[in-house]
């Protein structure tokens, strides 16, 4: 089994290498834009692999790192919000102080790397009192935002509130700063961590969907063209049928298929729905190409030598259509990442992972309130990958499939 997989991987590797060495590809290597795009994609994949090995864990992406809806880059907030943030931290500590086992409750409080100051409980209570004193004073004012005179007091309250926490040193301080760099979402989770962790989810969806659709589509398309007859009719009927339903409708119905089943919570419904929808593109393209290839001399020579049909298909025909598979893979990769966002927005896609779709959908309410950090972060990180892939695909198409229109 392992040997078979190894063999398959090395065969794919050799095919890709052959394409990279091909004459058409020279054009690709000369284009600086295309190389930059390839480098950007490599960087994303690098980050994805690093996340896979634990750079950012799933728990970290779900963990509360601070008050909710904090803007990024320590941007100054209106006084009212600053008051609320202090209030949030205060409540957190006060609630713990009311527990039976105070020491344990306090030790359990965590905001990212932050922990409650390691001082005797009495001392901590005094510090809380100091904040409460100022807070009560400020609470009397109706609208803090309209009273600039009170701003120094708000700042003083924040300073006192900061003393509730253990000062962070070295890496911990950096880590906490980094987590708050792009602010937090409405559950106080780090936007930066979530946007970065979503790279892994996106790459996962893109690679699995791209690979499965290209393999399925190419095999069906090649078989249809190569064997002809009823196989061809069947495959053509199948893809005309599936492509007669608008793809978003088809995706939705396929996701419906998994509702209420055990794997609904995972990414499998997305893989399945995308895979069953997206194989049509490669199938059409490969079918067209194989129709041409099977007329060529070397195929006829192989036939004359008495090689078995399926071996000819696998060894002589498919490798010569591999450049198109590469182009199709990269097209479908983008399509999968973009469609994930659409499906998630409609409530049918990713549910329990941090993904760009989830982030963008959640930011709908925030945007109305003028908070753009979450939608901005998700859009920019996603934009980088999709733009790089768009440029890369264009260059790939120019290099390997120059006759293609758009």
């Amino acid at each position: 089994m392992i040997r078979a997989v190894g063999k398959a991987v090395s065969a794919v590797g050799r095919l890709v290498a052959a394409n990279v060495r091909s004459r058409g590809f020279r054009k690709f290597r000369k284009s600086k834009l295309a190389l930059t795009a390839a480098a950007a994609i490599a960087a994303y994949v690098g980050v994805g692999i690093a996340i896979f090995f634990g750079l950012v864990t799933r728990e970290e992406a779900f963990e509360r790192v601070g008050p909710d809806s904090v803007p990024g880059f320590d941007a100054l907030q209106p006084a009212e919000r600053r008051f609320n943030n202090v209030d949030f931290q205060l409540t957190l500590v006060e609630r713990a102080l009311k527990q039976q086992d105070k020491a344990r409750a306090l030790a359990e409080i965590r905001l990212g790397r932050r922990r409650v100051a390691q001082v005797p409980v009495e001392e901590l209570k005094a510090r809380v009192e100091a904040v409460v004193e100022l807070a009560e004073e400020l609470e009397g004012s109706k609208d803090l935002d309209r009273e600039p005179k009170l701003l120094p007091k708000v700042a003083e309250m924040e300073a006192r509130c900061a003393r509730l926490w253990e000062p962070l040193k070295g890496w911990d301080a950096w880590s906490q700063r980094l987590k708050l760099l792009l602010g937090t979402d409405r559950q106080g989770r780090s936007i930066l961590l979530r946007a970065v962790y979503a790279i892994k989810i996106a790459l996962q969806i893109g690679i699995v969907v791209g690979a499965c659709s290209v393999i399925l589509g190419s095999l069906l398309g090649a078989a249809a063209a190569f064997y002809g007859g009823w196989v061809d009719h069947l495959v053509q009927w199948l893809y005309s049928t599936l492509s007669s339903v608008p793809y978003l409708v088809l995706l939705s119905v396929l996701v419906f298929m998994f509702q209420g089943s055990a794997i609904e919570q995972t990414l499998v419904p997305i893989y399945a729905a995308f895979g069953l929808t997206f194989w049509i593109g490669p199938c059409r393209v490969i079918r067209g190409e194989v129709l041409k290839i099977k007329q060529l001399d070397y195929v006829q020579a192989a036939t004359a030598l008495g090689q078995r049909r399926w071996l000819i298909l696998l060894k002589h025909v498919l490798p010569n259509a591999s450049h198109l598979m590469l182009v199709q893979f990269s097209l479908l990769f983008i399509a999968a990442i973009k469609s994930e966002v659409l499906l998630t927005f409609l409530g049918l896609g990713v549910k329990h992972e941090p993904s760009w779709g989830i982030m963008i959908s959640q930011s709908e309410q925030e945007v109305v309130n003028g908070f753009f950090w979450q939608i901005g972060a998700a859009t920019v990180v996603m934009f980088g990958l999709v733009l790089a892939f768009n440029i890369f695909t264009d260059a790939l198409q120019d290099a390997l499939d120059p006759k293609h229109i758009a």
Partner: protein
Amino acid sequence: MWQYVLRKLLWNIPVYLGILLVVMLALRVNDPVWVRLGKNATQEDYDRERKDLGLDEPFLKQYGKLLWGFDLERQSWDKPGRSVGKELSQAVWPSLWIALPAFVLTTLVALGIALVAAFRRGHALDRWLMAGAVVGMSISYVVYIILGQYFGAYKLKEWTGAEIFAIQGYDTKRAFWWVHFCALPVLINVALAIGYDSRFYRAVVVEEATRDHVRTARAKGLGERRVWLRHVLRNALIPVITHVMITLPFLVAGEILVEVFFNIPGMGRTLITAILGKDFPMVQGFTAVFAAIFIITNILTDVLYALVDPRVRLS
């Protein structure tokens, strides 16, 4: 000509039969009655619902019902007393009011951009336009919609003081209701598709502009205007007309998203609500209708293609 149309019609019959089969099978993989009722339902509940839906009938009979009029008489699960047909007849109009203007506008604008870019091919303008198209394609549709609503509805109201575009909703009784409720979704829909479409049309026009007959026309000494209007644009329209089809799935996708976001009671939103509410009869009926509309458009484009391009009829 007629033979060609007939052939197209005949080819689409098995395709349509296939779609209904696929839809029915996909919706029955996971027993829809259990999905709807949850794990705690009793066997009697299950049997009753199953009978109500007609799921106890033989598969072929159900298939026949769906084939013969989409099974429109069936009652919706979520909205008791409303049949699928009634919901459909109400949902069609809002969708059309958005989809048709969006379609026409997108095609015209994209074609315009494509012509300008192709005419100035290789120049700075062309490069900027196409770079803009790639950048525009790389931003998620949902972002366009969210920001479109924020700036087009909320901010515009703040700036002008008048509520020109509604934040959401749909009500035909209002004065200027189309502008109020539909114009913004239409504009957003156009923005979604413009990058992809204009790139595609530009490629088509460029392909046509580099043909031999165009060179011949120039060699004959024809003016640039005549060359472009007569020899390039007219010929480029043939692939454009046929490939208008390609843009339809994107139109439907944009339509569904916009309807859901702006709370417009069109076909897209009804379908998504039905899927989220596990409303089996609605999902089945609506998907079948979506497919039927799609196929009809398909056939129409094929016929149109045959009308404008005599070469097609031979193949």
